[in-house]
């Protein structure tokens, strides 16, 4: 117990986050095995874990590194499609589904990281809103390129940017068919795999944040000029955050794609990037636990609102605006602070307050 008390606030926060994730997993798993949750909810479990991973990884860029990225879905799609191809190609070599998923996710992560480097090098020359618009542009470019990508496999891989005919295949199978995307995907993803990926993503991001490199990343966020003045290579550390986040997004993309029987490049458009950004901002920038909770809630919310049909996205929009207004307007904030002051259970409220207000790195 003494050791627990001696832990720094950062490590304690991290442990609480791990605990929440594990408890949530156990509860959902138990409910699922008792058939206590609907089938539509079960279908959401893997997407929820994927979105949690995306939220954590984007938090590294937006919250920890302080760069507004509007193209995170681009890296997700790079990972999704390389993961799909890898899983198909490796099918004869690796028969075990989970192992194949793992390898495919690792490959997806590598390719997404590569995309992250290619995108990141020009992007890191810019700052602020200009950086944001360029990440948006890159996200759209990746989507457009994938819309024109045809990949077939007949013992060796064939690529084309024109159509399936020009693949020059000897039988075999078309894996990615331009705008139609990939069909007949083998469903390798599972809730457990998603849960493990969440733990891995959490592990990578929190450990990175609480290390020499993470401090350098946050230093650049807080004051770029001061960071340079103490000898920190600002481009290197901004790029590091960007690429690690891209790799993790790629892995989440592979997990996400292999949960469906077909997937199209259009799925990973600007709106998806925005959706992930909304998770991060609602959860509190840099607050990883908040991002996890908001990713889970905001993925379930539209599903729960399905019964009101076309109104659900309208309500989603209103909730979004209302939360932003309530959490950022000075008068409303003062009222909330007053309320919090009256509640004596300070520790419990802090987590909630952080999640609402956007507390800083944990």
């Amino acid at each position: 117990m003494d050791r627990l008390k001696n832990l720094s606030k950062a490590s304690r926060d991290t442990l609480i986050t791990y605990a929440i994730v594990i408890v949530a997993f156990v509860i959902m798993q138990a409910l699922a095995s008792m058939h206590a949750i609907s089938s539509s909810m079960i279908g959401l479990l893997v997407p929820i874990t994927a979105y949690i991973c995306l939220s954590i990884s984007l938090n590294l860029v937006v919250g920890i590194s302080g760069e507004l990225s509007l193209g995170h879905a681009g890296f997700m799609s790079v990972g999704a499609f390389t993961g799909l191809v890898a899983a198909q190609v490796l099918a004869p070599a690796i028969t075990s589904g989970p192992v194949r998923l793992l390898v495919a996710m690792l490959i997806a992560g590598c390719f997404a990281a590569l995309a992250g480097v290619l995108v990141g090098i020009p992007v890191m020359r810019l700052q602020g809103d200009y950086l944001a618009i360029v990440t948006l542009a890159f996200g759209e470019i990746i989507k457009n390129l994938l819309n024109n990508l045809y990949v077939g496999y007949d013992g060796s891989l064939h690529f084309s940017m024109k159509d399936t005919a020009s693949l020059g295949m000897n039988g075999g199978k078309v894996l990615i068919n331009g705008p139609q995307g990939a069909v007949g995907i083998e469903k390798l993803s599972s809730f457990i795999a998603g849960f493990l990926l969440v733990l891995f993503t959490l592990f990578v991001v929190t450990n990175l944040v609480n290390s020499r490199s993470g401090r350098a990343i946050m230093a650049v966020r807080d004051n770029r000029i001061a960071a340079e003045s103490v000898g920190i290579d600002t481009t290197k550390y901004r790029l590091m955050a960007f690429v690690v986040a891209a790799a993790l997004a790629g892995m989440a993309g592979a997990l996400y794609a292999m949960n469906f029987s077909s997937i199209v490049p259009k799925k990973f458009d600007f709106n998806t990037s925005i959706l992930i950004l909304v998770f991060v901002v609602l959860g509190g920038m840099g607050n990883i636990r908040g991002g996890i909770i908001s990713a889970a809630l905001l993925t379930i919310l539209p599903e729960k609102l399905r019964f009101i049909g076309d109104f659900r996205m309208l309500i989603y929009a209103i909730v979004l605006i209302a939360v932003m207004l309530f959490s950022n307007n000075a008068q409303v904030r003062m009222a909330i602070d007053g309320l919090r002051g009256r509640l004596s259970r300070k520790d419990d409220d802090e987590a909630l307050g952080d999640a609402i207000e956007g507390g800083d790195a944990q």
Partner: protein, 322 residues
């Protein structure tokens, strides 16, 4: 052994070079002049009979530093902003353990000089030698690694991080731990974190700030923020510490304390300090050599006594007295 470990060790021993040395600033130039007047022998008929002299070298360093490589030497340093010559033909030398002052009226270009030295701006003309090494082509981060640390006129801390983390970030290039070691918590990580922690607290002790280690930097009172900036700068293991108005916003008691601390830093760490300050008590109290800047040009150099007596300096500050 790193530079820092060395400087830490000096603390316990009796510092030989401490204290203030005033007086023979002209020693170096006089000695050089005497050596230069050598007569050429007539062995080569085609050669002109040239009288060789030492160029007028108006650099000043403390006598104890005269024979060591100066920590900083600026030759004909200058920068233009558009048509404006913000700094022009700046020649400056700072001795290895000197506390030097850079003063001048508002807008004289003092902070611009700091920005040139730290490569926030690239100079238009001239050379900067840091401990004998030309810093041409280096960027701010590189210059910091080479040994210049600075504080800022408008405080620039990592506001959302703790006091300890601020110092640890200052120690960034002193302790090594790569990204992978950090993510996967390799033994290297635990070793480095311990070293970060110990050295950060040791440095905070210089200003008795170890108790504030877990406070958020942005929430510290103003004076403490200024002190933390100095600690952070010291953490980078500098050879030369640039302080931009360190006493701004401090009360006389705090200023007095700051003066003692600056001298203590110089004595303990055996580094040079170049400071910009408007508080003349501080400048005249601890600076050994002073350079006065006006409209981007040096108008006077010398000891505090010489500067106080210099009519040009008085005119620059107070206007022409008729």
């Amino acid at each position: 052994m790193t530079r820092d470990e060395k400087t830490y060790k000096v603390q316990s021993g009796s510092a030989p070079v401490g204290g203030r040395t005033e007086g023979t600033y002209k020693a170096q130039s006089e000695r050089a002049a005497a050596a230069g007047v050598e007569q050429g022998r007539e062995t080569h008929p085609k050669r002109q009979r040239t009288k060789m002299v030492a160029p007028p070298n108006n650099y000043l360093v403390p006598e104890r530093d005269a024979l060591k490589t100066p920590v900083l030497e600026c030759r004909h340093l200058g920068i233009d902003f558009g048509g404006l010559k913000a700094v022009e033909d700046l020649n400056l030398m700072v001795g290895k353990t000197e506390i030097a002052g850079l003063i001048g009226p508002n807008g004289a270009g003092k902070t611009t000089v700091f920005n040139l030295l730290t490569k926030v701006y690239q100079p238009t003309r001239g050379t900067i030698l840091l401990d004998g090494v030309d810093t041409a082509g280096m960027d701010t981060a590189r210059v910091s690694r080479e040994g210049i640390a600075r504080t800022f006129q408008n405080i620039r801390l990592f506001d959302s991080l703790t006091v300890e983390d601020n110092v640890k970030i200052g120690l960034h290039n002193q302790v090594d731990c790569g990204m992978w070691s950090g993510i996967f918590r390799m033994p290297r990580y635990w070793l480095s974190e311990k070293e970060f922690h110990d050295r950060a607290l040791e440095l905070l002790d210089v200003f008795n700030m170890a108790d504030n280690a877990n406070d958020i930097a942005g929430s510290l009172p103003y004076g403490a923020q200024r002190r933390l900036e100095i600690v952070r700068a010291l953490a980078t293991g500098p050879k030369l510490l640039l302080l931009d108005e360190p006493a701004a916003g401090m009360n006389p008691v705090e200023t007095e304390e700051l003066m003692d601390n600056i001298v203590k830093i110089r004595d303990d760490f055996q580094i040079a300090v170049l400071l910009i300050e408007h508080d003349m008590d501080l400048v005249m109290g601890i600076c050994e050599g002073i350079v006065v800047l006006n409209f981007g040009k040096v108008i006077a150099k010398g000891t505090p006594e010489e500067i106080q007596a210099n009519p040009q300096v008085v005119e620059a500050y107070l206007g022409k007295q008729d």
